[in-house]
């Protein structure tokens, strides 16, 4: 490793380049318009919290009604996009699948996040039963960062939950935060995502409606990162030939639970 990850940063001053005011003046002059908001306001942006809430609630109600169909659609679409989809009745069956994977890959080190899904699905024991060691990829203070990264780089598998899964696109959505490292789903060569029925949404519009509500409620806190994962890492940069597993996982497994 080069310079330690947590090194104190240097530049604390404000903006570089030209003042934003001046930049906007140039843009305004090019457009030939007066400053201020658009004369005709942009509809989505005029919504107040109750409206955003109503929209999100409508999405939730529809999702609840259509849940069985959405689970089928998610399984089908995710399969087409390169996920290995394993549908399971409940957590126990899901863990059997994880154990089988660990055994067949011969993975000795398995990284996982710390998420509520593992409270009902005790994955550590399942992995141990298959001959692997499952460890939480969380940092105990800055000193352990280097160590955690090194361990991640040597792990054969990373297991996470899903904050959402989108039936329209076959995507798992993760919102990295405390307990959920950004790296655990991208550094190891195999990623396993455990998806509960309550994680599933129908469309991209559903997802953004729900995120907008969280954003509006949290007084404008979006969270630093949001990531869609749809199938394995891939490239077609040499002669349009598809190769999987370039910088991210070559193999991704979606363990889709029918019951929480």
């Amino acid at each position: 490793m080069g310079i330690p990850f947590n090194r104190v940063s240097g530049s604390q001053s404000g903006s570089l380049g030209i003042p934003s005011q001046q930049f906007r003046e140039t843009v305004r002059a090019a457009l030939g318009r007066e400053s201020g908001a658009p004369a005709e306001p942009y509809e989505v942006l005029t919504q107040e919290l109750p409206e955003i809430e109503a929209q999100a609630q409508a999405a939730r109600d529809r999702i609840a009604r259509e849940r069985p169909e959405l689970l089928d659609q998610l399984a089908a679409t995710a399969g087409l996009r390169g996920w290995n989809v394993q549908r399971c009745e409940g957590a126990e069956e899901g863990l059997d699948y994880v154990a089988w994977l660990v055994r067949s890959l011969g993975a000795t080190s398995v990284a996982r996040s710390e998420q509520p899904v593992f409270d009902t699905a005790p994955v550590d024991a399942a992995v141990a039963g298959a001959g692997g060691l499952c460890w939480p990829a969380v940092y105990d203070g800055p000193a352990s960062r280097t160590e955690v990264r090194q361990r991640l780089a040597e792990s054969g598998m990373g297991i996470t939950g899903a904050d959402y899964a989108i039936a329209e696109t076959g995507s798992v959505v993760v919102l990295p935060r405390r307990g959920l490292s950004r790296l655990v789903s991208v550094v190891p060569p195999v990623h396993v995502a455990i998806v509960r029925p309550s994680d599933v949404v129908g469309t991209l519009d559903d997802l953004f409606a729900l995120r907008r509500l969280e954003y509006a409620r949290d007084g404008g806190e979006m969270g630093s990162y949001l990531n869609f994962i749809t199938g394995p890492s891939r490239t077609a940069d040499i002669e349009q030939t598809i190769v999987v597993g370039v910088h991210g996982p070559r193999e991704v497994h979606m363990v889709l639970l029918n019951k929480e």
Partner: protein, 486 residues
């Protein structure tokens, strides 16, 4: 700024047409990308596709039309999330900003995820001159960085290279045994770059979209390098042209549907990452600092001309390249700068100056395939005609871009074509002069003085023995009256 060799379009395109390997690569890519794009449209049905296009265009129209307002909203929200926004009028300033961020943070190693703006700025060489190691991590970008070339396509930068050429490049530059197995080459890149990801102090990414309402930067990728660049280093710098803003998170949905399908025919890419400020203190990981550099670099010129403004709606999917009969024959490098193909023929003159790139608007047959393919319905042929018109007899900022000879010839041609008498005389003289040297009614490529640039690349059909009006008078008009008499 990246070196501009747009003046060389004519010789460069002539050379490209003769390059058999390039032709093969272009054919494969063009039919591949465009074929899957069409399949993807059929799948959602053309009716739905049109609705998405209309919706996306409306969003772009509104945002670009009030760009100053949305830039302010974006800046406010990036800042609220703990990030910093910097504005650059030109390439030099943008490069200076990134250099300063690197200097202030003691950066020695940079990993980059694909960014066309950074290609436009020529950023890598500036950072390297400062003693910083810069690694492109998108496989295509990594290949062209090793070859010290520019991208030849908006989404597939190394499209012009065959597997054999890449294998040789890897053997020469990385000291690995020659292997033209594509899986093996991807594996080598993975191994080499994996260590760089862990070592890097700074990650640089482009931006597909900037969401004003939340202050988020959105990148759409397939390899996973974008996720590593924005997660592992302690500083993240996002680079974006100022036109990338969209108002709301909800607007993202339609663009996530349009962009991958238009670019590669994928229904969605492997990854979509949305970055909102640096890591929060309770987060497990992520950069300590997030900087967003917003670049003008000539875009305000395109914005100021209402006839060219819609070129800023472009989402850089590359669909217009894949359907363009000119791009498909000459490839991206002939265009002489960073943005090739139909949209490049408008954006490049706008950003580097029309005087530098006056051949580009002519590099089109005006067939309209680009307009039909564009996911935001940009009317590219109309803008190409606008540029041609301005170059020929345009307003002052275009002065000196036209050719006097060409303009004289065009005027002569116009007066002949608008007078039946002159046209008739011209036809007779032309036929008498050309008939003896023509073969099969056609004069092959020749060098006729003054117009040789036209005639040496085209077959010239010799004028017919009788004009249409003569044929009409003597035969067709008679038939017409016979028929009506039946």
């Amino acid at each position: 700024m990246a070196e501009v060799v747009t003046r060389q379009f004519v010789p460069a395109s002539q050379a490209a047409v003769k390059d058999a390997q390039l032709r093969q690569a272009l054919r494969r890519a063009g039919t591949g990308f465009d074929g899957t794009r069409r399949e993807a449209i059929e799948e959602v049905t053309p009716g739905v596709w049109e609705q998405w296009r209309v919706q996306a265009r409306r969003i772009k129209e509104h945002t670009i039309g009030h760009l100053d307002y949305y830039l302010e909203m974006l800046e406010r929200n990036v800042t609220a999330a703990g990030g910093r926004v910097h504005f650059a009028v030109d390439a030099e300033q943008a490069n200076a900003i990134v250099s300063e961020i690197a200097r202030a943070n003691g950066v020695w190693t940079v990993t980059k995820s694909k960014s066309m703006v950074s290609e436009e700025l020529g950023l890598n060489h500036v950072l390297e001159a400062q003693g910083i190691d810069v690694f492109e991590t998108d496989l295509g970008e990594y290949i062209i960085q090793l070859a010290d070339e520019t991208p030849s396509h908006l989404v597939a930068p190394a499209l012009h290279k065959t597997r054999g050429q890449v294998a040789q490049l890897f053997a020469d530059q990385l000291g690995v045994p020659y292997s033209d197995d594509i899986e093996e080459m991807a594996r080598i890149a993975r191994v080499v770059l994996r260590q760089k990801f862990l070592d890097a102090d700074m990650g640089i990414s482009g931006a597909n979209f900037l969401v004003a309402e939340t202050g988020s930067l959105v990148i759409i990728t397939n390899e996973g390098n974008g996720r590593l660049c924005t997660s592992a280093p302690r500083v993240h710098v996002g680079l974006a042209g100022m036109e990338k803003v969209i108002p709301s998170l909800q607007d993202l949905a339609v663009f996530l549907r349009l962009l991958p399908r238009s670019a590669t025919g994928q229904r969605i890419t492997s990854y979509m990452s949305m970055v909102t400020g640096p890591r929060r203190s309770e987060d497990e990981d992520g950069p300590e600092e997030f900087h967003l550099v917003i670049v003008d670099n000539g875009r305000s010129r395109l914005l100021a001309d209402p006839a060219l403004r819609e070129s800023l709606y472009c989402i850089r999917c590359g669909a217009c390249l894949n359907v363009c009969p000119v791009y498909q024959r000459v490839g991206g490098h002939a265009y002489g700068w960073v943005y090739p193909g139909p949209i490049g023929s408008i954006v490049t003159p706008g950003l580097v100056g029309v005087g530098q790139a006056k051949d580009l608007p002519n590099a089109s047959t005006l067939c309209g395939a680009c307009r039909d393919a564009c996911p935001v319905q940009i009317n590219i042929p109309r803008m190409l005609l606008h540029l041609r018109h301005n170059i020929a007899e345009g307003p002052e900022q275009y002065e000196g871009t036209g050719s006097d000879t060409e303009s004289l010839l065009a005027r002569g041609f116009a007066s002949v074509m608008s007078s039946p008498r002159l046209l008739n005389i011209g036809r007779r003289i032309g036929r008498r002069l050309l008939a003896p040297i023509a073969k099969g009614g056609v004069l092959g490529p020749t060098r006729i003085p003054l117009v040789s640039r036209w005639t040496r690349a085209r077959d010239l059909p010799i004028p017919a023995p009788r004009s249409f009006s003569e044929v009409w008078r003597d035969e067709l008009a008679g038939q017409q009256s016979n028929r009506s008499g039946d």
